[in-house]
Structure formats: structure tokens, C-alpha cells
């Protein structure tokens, strides 16, 4: 198997950052009650993960080991600021709805985790790919969560009404606890599947 496909498979399913490794749940779950905002946020996270991995991999020889966490944080912050400025210029309503959560991409553990675990030891191109797929695996889970929450909480998808008029929106889906429950259910599915696959071997 080609190195690139192996990484994508690992990052998207086998070692999915949220469901298996439980990383980076912090900043993004809060915006999952609206599918559009979630997708934009997820794209932002994916880009930042990919590009910061690329940069860290390029610079790894020049970064002193002792301050590498600090330097990595600054590299990540640099890309997050770019994302923030682009959002504010082109999508001001989304930027407003996301509020402080765009800035909080900086402290998303996935990005730091990928930079530390992968980009430090690999060549730039493959690091970029690793970052992008890790972000995509993360985006995948969030989009599923957002889909369920928006559909049941507001009866809409992308702000377009889907459910019939007689449908009563589930208020709980708009509030925080539902995100925890849905992630728990997805984890259950993911873990059961991996246990089953392991049992067959």
C-alpha cells in the first residue's frame, strides 16, 4: 500500500482523532448546532492543520528542541489569524456566529498533536497530506454531529426547512448536552466496529 493511502486510511477511520484518540473536541463541538458554521469551521481547522504541519516540517531543522512547542504554537497562531481575517472579510455573519471559537483553533490539540507526532519526523509533502487527512477525519465526525443536531434541533439543513410543519423541534439538540450524547453514540459505533474487526483476525 502506498504511504499516502495508508496515512489517509489511518487518519480518516482507524485512528480518527475524535472518536479513537479523543483529541481536539474542545473548540468545535460548541458550533455543531448549525451545519453551515460547522463546515466552515472544519475547513478552517483542516487547512490550519495541513499548513502548520507543512511549515513545521520545513523548519524542523532550524527549531531548537527546547522552544519547539512555543514556535509551533506561533506557527499555528499565524495560520489561525489568516483564517480569522479571511472569515471576517468574506463571511462576516459566520465569523460573528463562531465568535471566539476561531481563535481557539490555536489551542486545538489535534494540530499540536500532528505537528509533534508527525511533522517533526517527516518530509514536508507527506506532512501536509497527514495534516489535511487528520483534519478531514475530524471534519467528518463534526459534520455528522452537526447534521443530526441541526435536523432535530431546528428541523433544518443548511438553514433550509426539511422536516414537515408538524415536527416539533427538540430543544435539547440545540443545547450543549446533546453534543456529548451524539459523540458518545458515534464512539460506541466506532469502537464496536473496531472490536469486531479485531475479533475476526
Amino acid at each position: 500500500m502506498n504511504e499516502f493511502t495508508k496515512i489517509s486510511k489511518n487518519n480518516l477511520i482507524k485512528e480518527n482523532q475524535i472518536l479513537i484518540q479523543v483529541l481536539g473536541i474542545c473548540s468545535t463541538l460548541a458550533v455543531t448546532n448549525n451545519l453551515r458554521n460547522t463546515m466552515i469551521m472544519a475547513i478552517g481547522v483542516t487547512l490550519v492543520t495541513g499548513l502548520s504541519n507543512l511549515t513545521v516540517s520545513f523548519l524542523k531543522k532550524y527549531i531548537p528542541r527546547k522552544v519547539r512547542m512555543m514556535v509551533e504554537t506561533l506557527i499555528i497562531a499565524f495560520y489561525v489569524i489568516i483564517v480569522d481575517i479571511i472569515l471576517r472579510a468574506y463571511l462576516p455573519d459566520v465569523s460573528k456566529a463562531l465568535g471566539p471559537y476561531v481563535g481557539l483553533i490555536i489551542t486545538n490539540c489535534i494540530i499540536m498533536g500532528r505537528a509533534e507526532a508527525f511533522a517533526q519526523a517527516n518530509t514536508p509533502l507527506i506532512s501536509l497530506w497527514d495534516g489535511l487527512t487528520a483534519g478531514a477525519g475530524y471534519a467528518l465526525v463534526l459534520v455528522i454531529v452537526a447534521f443530526i443536531r441541526e435536523l432535530l434541533g431546528f428541523g433544518t439543513i443548511f438553514n433550509i426547512r426539511i422536516m414537515p410543519k408538524s415536527f416539533t423541534p427538540w430543544t435539547i439538540m440545540v443545547m450543549a448536552p446533546s453534543a456529548f450524547f451524539i459523540v458518545a453514540l458515534l464512539m460506541w459505533v466506532a469502537k464496536s466496529m473496531s472490536l469486531k474487526a479485531g475479533g475476526k483476525k
Partner: protein
């Protein structure tokens, strides 16, 4: 925004708990809450750092960032302040109380990447809190985080022995527990909202 600082304090502990309603600081929350003592240590450290950095960042925002028009750099400046505070704190605690340093030691560096700390600073700036409000908001959010983590650590101790489907054991069950806790905390709402 004109909320009484004391009201803000209680709101940030309960109804607007930084962890249970804003999902911040989840990574260390999940990974550390396996053990009650460590949770307690981390909660203490987070509360302290959160209070100090929120107040410091208030000054930095109002006396450095705004006058010099550095708004686009604010994320970097805030994170540097937080990292510096954690670093200095580590050295000070090491000097003054080695025993406390031993308990907190491993948790302090973790705090730099705890999103709740940066989150509180960003909320403080976004909602235009006054100095006193920021102080109470930082302290309240820290205590709320501390309360949430020791509660979860205590519950997890029992839950790990519970009979549950194999696929749900571990993090899955923890997430359901957090969800139920979040519902309980939301039960306090009606007192006040700080959105």
C-alpha cells in the same frame, strides 16, 4: 455589558460553565479525570492560572493592544502572555513550595494548551468586561472547571466497574456521563445568562 460581578461569578460556575456549556478544556478534562487526586491538582492550577491570565490579559488588551492598534495580533499576544505566566508560575512554585511543585509539576505545562484559559480571555475581550467583571469571570470559570473535573473523576471511579456494552466502555460512557452532568448544570439556568 452591565452584569454585577458577583452574579457573573455564580453564572460562570454554574449556568455558563466553561466546560459543560462552552466545551472548552475538554482534552485535559477527559485524559486527567481518571484519577481524583490529579484532577484536584489540575483544577487548582487551572483556577489559579485562569484568574491571573484573565486579569493580565485585560490590562494587555486595554493598555497595549487597543492603543497600538494591534488587534489582528491579539491571538498571538494573548497566547504568549499565557505561556509566560505558566512558565513564571512554574519557577515561582518550584522555589517557594517544592511539595506543591511536585503535585502540580506535570500539570502546569499542560495548562498552556488548555483551551479554556485562552477561551476565557477571548470571551472577556469579546463581551467587553470591566476589570472587576473579568476578575470574577476568570475566577468563576476556573472554579467551575475545577468542580466539573472532580465531579467527573469521582463518578468515573464507579463507572469503570459498571457492566456496559464493550464498545461503549471507556470514553463513550464518559461522554454520556458528561452529557448528563451538562444537563444538570443547565438546570441552574433561569438565574442568569451571560451570552
Amino acid at each position: 455589558m452591565n452584569i454585577n460581578p458577583v452574579v457573573l461569578f455564580f453564572a460562570s460556575v454554574f449556568t455558563s460553565n466553561i466546560l459543560l456549556t462552552n466545551f472548552l478544556g475538554m482534552c485535559s478534562y477527559i485524559s486527567i479525570s481518571k484519577d481524583l487526586n490529579s484532577s484536584n491538582g489540575l483544577g487548582m492550577a487551572v483556577t489559579f492560572v485562569m484568574t491571573v491570565t484573565t486579569v493580565l490579559n485585560w490590562f494587555v488588551y486595554h493598555y497595549i493592544i487597543v492603543p497600538f492598534g494591534l488587534d489582528y495580533l491579539r491571538y498571538i499576544i494573548f497566547i504568549i502572555v499565557i505561556a509566560a505566566v505558566v512558565q513564571i508560575l512554574e519557577m515561582v512554585i518550584d522555589r517557594i513550595s517544592p511539595s506543591l511543585y511536585m503535585t502540580l509539576g506535570i500539570f502546569l505545562p499542560l495548562i498552556t494548551v488548555n483551551c479554556a484559559i485562552l477561551g476565557v480571555t477571548l470571551f472577556m475581550q469579546l463581551r467587553n468586561y470591566s476589570l472587576l467583571q473579568s476578575l470574577f469571570y476568570g475566577l468563576g470559570s476556573g472554579l467551575g472547571w475545577w468542580l466539573a473535573i472532580i465531579l467527573l473523576a469521582a463518578i468515573r471511579k464507579k463507572i469503570d466497574n459498571a457492566p456496559a456494552p464493550a464498545g461503549l466502555k471507556g470514553t463513550g460512557l464518559t461522554f454520556i456521563t458528561i452529557g448528563i452532568m451538562a444537563m444538570a448544570f443547565i438546570g441552574f439556568s433561569g438565574m442568569i445568562r451571560v451570552q
